[in-house]
């Protein structure tokens, strides 16, 4: 217990360093703005802004990146409320009651409760995080190469089967991502693989290029059609006081407190994250509500619940990323990538070797949440003007930013070509409804996954049974099987329920 507080105190001294704190504020504002822009969720925002952090110290860079992450989570719902256009998947549930509220002339209350719910959800989740982080990291110290390989199998298969409806396409995306990571010099044997004689490909394809290409450029490509397709909706720009009444507060606090833990634990599980967390939060409240018919017509509980769950999930998602070194979502994969670029070893050793970084990030979650709440309540009226940026300026700017950012990774224009290739890949994936998160996740963890696989086989001299020798391995294998069969199980349960319902009504 005392240990946690000493560590937290260390973390706060890191965050309250003037430069770090200033960049935390900058990150929160940038994140909110990027989160608001339609189609540019947190993953794209962080990927596009990543190059800004290359020249920074690791803790400073990560504090800023985390601030961008929370900022994007707060900002994502602004578009949901005012335009019925969510900034990302996690903000979809905020459209259900947020947009009707704004239509009914209660935009101020909607903006305020979404920020308040996000704040409380994020804060409580951070407290849970503080108490869970060390035990999980200590447990993970027992992991060797076979355990890590199985853990990644679990994280990847869960992401592939949970992110979208199509399990097969999830696996398709996953394997494609792993294939990308096999390009380049194989560090363990010194063999060149899939480089097709291109000198620059020897060092492999940088995952930042893939991420910026698929999320950033791919997003712009998908949106190009919309530039001409429909004129931009006008955004409400004049607001009264952005706050809520006592009555609205009383209605909202219950849903917020109930759905925060739900969101958090959904966030910890790989593959689910904010989108499922916020949907579950919304549905749970609707089910237990005394007047479920009001949901969807602009009731404040219907906005408070998903917003709290969504931010709690975003904090929960950082647990596997920081303590195990295995991300569970597209966004945390990007952040893991950032950790790797900064030369840090994510996972349990992060807490041992770089406590100021690990605890600095944790302390920054508290400060970042406060900063985002301040930015999103009093300044909301000002910031939502971002929503009226014309697409004809927005998309070229994103493309420009993507190109410049990618150049600073390797100082090579070869990456420009790769960026375009992955932009097209991202576009096709969206058109063909192939989920992107498993692809990104695979690209980030693929290299480490193959290394664990080969190290394990080296230890066992080629005996595959090494992957089934420890309890941890077997549990992880069981969980992987369960996650893959989950869509079938839930389908079967739905059918059974429908049959039962049909049976009783038929009588």
């Amino acid at each position: 217990m005392g240990e946690i507080f000493t560590n937290l105190a260390l973390g706060f001294t890191v965050v309250l360093d003037p430069l770090n704190f200033a960049l935390l504020l900058v990150g929160s504002v940038l994140g909110t703005v990027f989160g608001m822009l339609p189609g540019i969720g947190p993953a794209t925002g962080i990927a596009l802004l990543l190059p800004l952090t290359f020249a920074m110290k690791p803790e400073t860079a990560l504090i800023m990146m985390c601030a961008i992450y929370y900022g994007a989570m707060y900002g994502g719902s602004r578009g949901s409320i005012l335009l019925n256009v969510p900034g990302d998947g996690a903000a979809v549930a905020a459209t259900f009651d947020g947009y009707p509220m704004a239509q009914n002339g209660r935009a101020e209350a909607a903006l305020a409760i979404s920020a308040i719910a996000s704040f409380i959800g994020g804060l409580i989740a951070t407290v849970i995080f503080v108490f869970l982080a060390l035990p999980v990291a200590r447990f993970a110290l027992r992991f060797g190469p076979p355990e890590y390989f199985m853990l990644m199998i679990f994280a990847l298969s869960a992401t592939a089967s949970l992110t979208q409806k199509s399990l097969l396409k999830g696996f398709f995306a996953l394997v494609m991502g792993l294939m990308v990571t096999t390009v380049g010099m194989d560090l363990m044997a010194g063999v060149r693989r899939f480089t097709f004689g291109v000198q620059e490909l020897q060092s492999g394809i940088d995952f930042i290029v893939v991420i910026v290409g698929v999320y950033g450029i791919g997003e712009v490509f998908t949106n190009y059609e919309k530039i001409a397709a429909k004129a931009a909706k006008p955004v409400q720009e004049k607001f009264g006081k952005i706050w809520i009444t006592m009555e609205e507060w009383k209605q909202s606090i219950g849903p917020i407190l109930r759905q925060t833990p739900v969101g958090f634990f959904v966030g910890v599980l790989p593959g689910s994250g904010g989108t499922i967390g916020s949907m579950m939060g919304y549905n749970n409240e609707k089910q237990i509500s005394k007047h479920p018919e009001k949901f969807g017509t602009g009731t404040i509980e219907g906005l408070a619940a998903p917003e709290a769950a969504n931010n709690a999930a975003s904090v929960g998602a950082l647990i596997p990323m920081m303590t195990l070194g295995v991300p569970g979502s597209g966004t945390t994969a990007v952040m893991l990538g950032a950790l790797l670029i900064l030369g840090l070893d994510p996972g349990p050793m992060l807490f041992e070797h770089h406590p100021h970084v690990a605890w600095g990030i944790i302390a920054s979650m508290f400060m970042g949440n406060i900063a985002c709440a301040v930015i999103n309540i009093p300044l909301a009226g000002l910031l939502v003007r971002v929503l009226s940026v014309k697409p004809k300026y927005l998309y070229p700017l994103i493309v420009g930013l993507a190109f410049v950012g990618v150049y600073t990774i390797n100082y090579s224009v070869v990456d420009f070509f790769l960026l375009l290739v992955f932009g097209v890949v991202g576009y096709l994936m969206k058109k063909l409804k192939i989920p992107i998160a498993p692809f990104i996740l695979a690209v980030v963890v693929g290299g480490g996954m193959e290394q664990s696989f080969r190290q394990a086989l080296m230890v066992s001299q080629g005996d595959m049974t090494i992957f089934f020798r420890s309890t941890i391995c077997n549990v992880l294998f069981g969980l992987s099987v369960l996650s893959v069969s989950w869509p079938f199980i839930s389908e079967w349960r739905k059918k059974r329920k429908a049959r039962q319902a049909g049976g009783t009504s038929g009588r």
Binding site: V404, F417, V424
Partner: protein
């Protein structure tokens, strides 16, 4: 054509090409000679398996008479994508020879004109020059990252 069928066929092609390439990879001179090949071979097989399942699933759905989804892309959208790719290639070719500022002005100018046309030329100029100089200033002066 239905989306799943397209994905499945593409997957079969990718997995076959990839596996053939993987088989031909040079073997390691130290340790197990097949070590660099095992993981890619596994990936090729899984991809093939998943793709065949996708094709079968789609064919079965077709038999049941389910409606097929069209790929659906507007001509304008595709033209703009093609335009961006061409501009990107030009940018890559001139970036190092002519330097960051002129190359970026050309690139951004092209993108902005493509997205907005000539009508809003004032905005185009402001955004194009603004972006180029702000990025140059932030990278070169604030972050001290050298641009050509």
């Amino acid at each position: 054509m239905h989306k799943d069928l397209t994905v499945g066929i593409a997957g079969v092609v990718i997995s076959l090409l990839y596996s053939v390439q993987a088989m031909q990879l040079p073997k390691a001179s130290i340790g197990n000679p097949w070590a660099p090949v095992l993981f890619p071979m596994g990936l090729g097989l899984v991809m093939l398996f998943v793709s065949v399942l996708l094709i079968l699933k789609d064919l079965r759905r077709r038999k049941e008479g389910a409606a097929t989804e069209a790929f659906g892309a507007s001509k304008l959208g595709l033209a703009m994508i093609a335009g961006t790719i061409v501009l990107g290639i030009v940018y890559a070719l001139i970036f190092e020879p002519v330097g960051f500022i002129p190359a970026t002005l050309i690139f951004m100018g092209g993108l902005l004109l493509m997205a907005g046309g000539w009508s809003g030329w004032r905005g185009t100029l402001v955004v194009g020059f603004g972006f180029t100089f702000i990025v140059w200033y932030v990278f070169e002066k604030v972050l001290r990252i050298m641009l050509p």
